[in-house]
Symmetry: none
Subunit: 198 residues, 4 copies
DNA sequence: AATGAATGAGACTTCATTCAT
DNA sequence: AATGAATGAAGTCTCATTCAT
């Protein structure tokens, strides 16, 4: 009797969920969990507030799921650096250009780290994912290679990585607000931190 | 007639106002105006919520006054760089060490720039105070001197200043949260952006 | 898509708005805007306080809308006097009988005129609507006709009208409280002001 | 040792009480008990809020005491009509001119009758004092005399009195606000109610 | 599945009253 | 007696969440 079979229904459901998560990501990333009202997400997703509750138990749950997704995407993204063309410094230069996709995820994680009203569950997830345990481990081979090629300045590569990515991370959090008060530095200026050369 | 003379009363009032503003600065800086509940400020200041209203007309007014104070302190602070000892690069190195006092002010201004629910008055104040109009103007002579002494890398000094301070600013916003996930870079690493040398 | 069609929803909305406005009119009229607590309106309308805010932006807005309605109704009502049967004095006698509907509106306007905490917008509306500009203008022909027929006492008709309606207005403000301490005069007694005859 | 003896202290206390009551009467009469803030009374009386509580237990108590005083003054005032010169109609004409002193008392009583937040005690006092029991009783001889002299229209004198004073009372409540929208009728117009003559 | 009405807890704010001096 | 700081209860308003349809 049903005009749609189970598979089709599932498809619609998935689509709706995706719709909601995309909308929520956009807004959570910019405004944080407290500054985001469900009405904003509903409007951005083009549906009623009530419907959100068919797909997610609560605002908090939605936030946590996005955090999980963001962490996974960030790790995956980090690994792609090795597939970029060129020498280590060229790989790093290309990678540093702030891409819009990753930016939202990054900002979301930043919000979760620094704002209040973040669900406990999200905090735990964030704690596990840290520069130390992921970024540094992943990028260490690249930096060692760069130092051996004399492209990168000498010194503890792990410290160099975390310092560099702390700077990049910090800039991304500023950049998201597109605040004209801050002039985003050219990538080459940032790379000086790693290379020690103009 | 009064059992407490005017001087004593004034003392109490000043103390209370200071108490409130200190508490409010701490919390506003971390949580933004929306994330900050008056109950938090009252608790931090050790008084009832009602008393806050003897000293400030509203949450918004309190926020705006703190913004004014923060801007003034930031400008004053920036000018002290010329009184520091040593060459331009040494001045800049000493200045860059993030001092806790200025950090809260800085973070507050950052919150005002990037969060929602910021009073219109605060936005206007912030707009007037920008890297361009203050920081860059103040520091231009220092950077030109540094470039002439070959301590600093060549290129447009104004752009160099705003890039460098965007980075420093961004790091301050991270640092305020004392998040262990981010390793704060050594000052010398940051200075590479300006000097182009390891 | 919607489980309730637009028409049904509109019906619910209209009903609720009507419910609220009726309840609010009753209470505002008696207690003024300061003396009226939203909890009272909500209780009288049989709904939660929160729901009031789905239909009206604020207590002030609700008050202003009621004032607008009251003014319009008063003007409309005043004009109906010419459709009443009989001579001028008979028209006026019939018209003077205080009807319950108009009474609440009248009292609301009176509250807006005399109480504190009245929204600026409401004050402006009230100022435009005054005995002079409406009541007197509308009734002047009737009184002149009454004087020509020797039914009404001689003298400046405009002054007679405003005097008479000041008295009627004043009585309405008392009457609204149904206070047994005051005995409402018979209409014929009041008409003596106009006719100068027992 | 005390620089002031008991009598002098008592004198100061009485003066202060009088000061407060005068200020309170002014404000209560205009704004009602809800619309009156203690800060207003304190300011009007030229003293601190705290001091009010040395003389009166609460806002309510102060209100009740004023009501008692107002009732007594009204009754006393009513009796003076017989000392006025002239015929009954002339006595009534003179008496009707709204005197400022009595007006405040009257308005206070009106507020107590018609507003909310009135202490139970005040309501009880008001209930005892009514047109019926005081005004009508006091004025009945005057009206009978007026009717016998054919100055007043015939009919039940008690009803005539209460009707007339309801009108006068109602006008006083309007008059207190000095609202230009209402033109206060000439006394002679009002007297038509009683005399039935222009 | 989908909507939007409806609720209620919690936030900001006011103000009568109390307290320390 | 006198002051003004200090408190807390209550009122307006917002918004996450639930409910009826």
């Amino acid at each position: 009797m049903s005009p749609l079979n189970e598979e089709q229904l599932q498809h619609i459901r998935d689509e709706r969920k995706e719709q909601i998560m995309e909308a929520a990501l956009k807004i959570f990333a910019r405004r944080g969990i407290i500054g985001t009202k469900l009405s904003m997400i509903a409007a951005e997703a083009g549906m009623s507030q009530g419907l959100l509750y068919h797909y997610f138990k609560s605002k908090d749950e939605l936030f946590v799921i996005l955090i999980q997704q963001a962490i996974q995407a960030s790790i995956d993204n980090m690994k792609t650096i090795y597939q970029l063309p060129g020498s280590p410094i060229e790989k790093l230069r290309t990678f540093t250009r702030l891409d819009n996709e990753g930016q939202l995820y990054f900002m979301l994680i930043h919000q979760a780290r620094t704002s209040d009203g973040v669900p406990e569950k999200a905090k735990q997830l964030i704690e596990q994912y840290s520069l130390e345990s992921y970024v540094v481990d992943i990028l260490e081979p690249l930096f060692i290679e760069g130092q051996e090629a004399k492209e990168f300045a000498p010194g503890d590569p792990r410290k160099l990585i975390s310092s560099y990515f702390t700077v990049v991370s910090a800039l991304m959090t500023l950049n998201i607000h597109e605040d004209e008060a801050y002039e985003m530095p050219e990538v080459d200026l940032l790379l000086r931190i790693v290379t020690g050369r103009p």
